[in-house]
Amino acid sequence: MKTTKGRRLDAQATKALRQEFLDDVCALPDGERVKECIQCGTCSASCPSAGRMDYSPRAIIAALRAGDLEHVLESDTVWLCASCYGCTVRCPVGIPFTDIMYELKRLGMTRGMLPKARQAAVMASTFAETVNSLGRNNEVALIRKYYLRTNPFAAFGQMGFAMRLMKRGRLELSSHRIKGLDGLRKMLATVDGEGGR
């Protein structure tokens, strides 16, 4: 498996990681159903990204049971989820698997346990940064920062696309900042105050 650092957590840290994950998942509506997974693989068969994942959705739960969450977080798996909810609506046990994928993303983010290919994680944090500064997203600002942080050369491949949008007046060149930004920031700060995800 592709891992960023190739290190192993010790037994205690592995157990703590697993427990934190389970606690957070069980706090989701229907989250406790993860314990009833029958390993049927309907989730993996429904997943449009599974072919490119090191661990398919079914294998994630198997890894969780084997106490191997660390490798899952650092592999090309969770950030390939496109959030299509195909697994969630088909799971015969009713496990909200897409929400579990979000939980894994959050766990990896807060612990800095990310795969080598971390573009999607960079996209998420850059998006949040943009929204925090404006109250809304600005696509031009987001994409510019995203390519600078991931692969500036790849931005050239997008120039044609950007020009086509520009010609039609579809590039958002000036940023709109919401009036209630201070209030929104105060609201978000209460979450940080609780240290909550």
């Binding site: 999607a120 997203n137 086509r164 949008l165 609201m187 909550g196 995800r197």
Partner: protein, 287 residues
């Protein structure tokens, strides 16, 4: 004129304004005013959910609180991503007391409150199920006779909630297209993922997913694809040449919002449906 709270979402302000403008113009014909929430903020989107669930809920809850304070019992989202995040926030607020307490405390810090009276709906659901066949047919001035359309719903119209439409096999847009005089084609990938944000973060994967939808639409003999989400729309319209080279097949096909087709059937001008914004050649479809 019936007034409904309206959440356009960030991407509909400039990049995908054609969806919002055509939607508002079409709704007016049907006696509905889509009343944009004042000073709304980002719904939180999939990206914020990947960082902090609580913050994503606070972002959405602020919008729900604004809708409530403006006297709306319904909040209409045109973007499927916004629809799911706003709806999910409502669900967690109803079902999880801890989330409710955390969100209420956050809203209070910004001098706002939310009493959970707002129902979140998708624009497609409202147009089809609230307006209904009679009203829609009553607005049709130029039936879309002979136009074969692949109705593409994407994921989040039906998933995970199954409220706006069926999670596996949505049909509302097909019904609507029939009322407009168009012919919906058999389209088995109607609710298969377009790739979403992976088009930017994992382009190979994104092109594989969007490519499947374009290829099947062509194979089914569709004249165009109709979408109900700005991200699906841009993924399907922007990379057709690149995807075609990759697949070794011509997958060029006009991609339009369902509201643009409604507008044309209602006799609105090409400006009123923003046909000029399209990245694909829509001259035969929206002319």
């Amino acid at each position: 004129m019936k007034k409904l709270g309206y959440f356009p979402g960030c991407s509909l302000m400039v990049t995908n304004r054609a969806y919002s403008i055509s939607a508002c113009n079409v709704a007016r014909q049907l006696g509905i005013e889509l009343s944009e929430l004042s000073d709304w903020n980002c719904c939180g989107a999939t990206a914020y959910l990947s960082l902090s669930e609580a913050k994503a809920f606070v972002m959405s809850a602020r919008n729900l609180a604004i809708a409530e304070s403006e006297g709306h019992d319904t909040l209409v989202a045109a973007c499927s991503g916004c629809y799911v995040v706003l709806r999910k926030t409502g669900k967690y607020l109803d079902e999880k007391p801890q989330v409710r307490a955390q969100v209420n405390a956050a809203l209070a810090a910004g001098d706002m409150s939310y009493k959970r009276t707002v129902k979140v709906r998708h624009l497609l659901d409202v147009m089809v199920n609230d307006c209904g066949e009679e009203a829609v047919k009553g607005c049709v001035k130029k039936p879309l006779q002979g136009l074969k359309v692949a109705a593409y719903y994407g994921c989040q119209v039906g998933r995970p909630f199954g409220e706006a439409d069926d999670p596996e096999f949505p049909v509302t847009m097909d019904r609507l297209l029939g009322w407009l005089g168009a012919t919906p084609v058999e389209f088995p990938v109607r609710a298969t993922c377009c790739g979403g944000l992976t088009m930017t973060t994992e382009p190979e994967l994104g092109m594989e997913m969007s490519g499947r939808i374009l290829r099947v639409a062509r194979e089914q003999g569709a004249d165009c694809i109709a979408t109900a989400c700005p991200l699906c729309q841009i993924n399907l319209e922007a990379y057709q040449d690149r995807i075609g080279r990759r697949l070794g097949a011509d997958v060029r096909i006009p991609v339009v919002y369902f509201t643009q087709l409604m507008g044309r059937a209602f006799g609105l001008s090409s400006q009123e449906v923003m046909a000029g914004d399209s990245l694909t050649d829509v001259s035969a479809v929206l002319a």
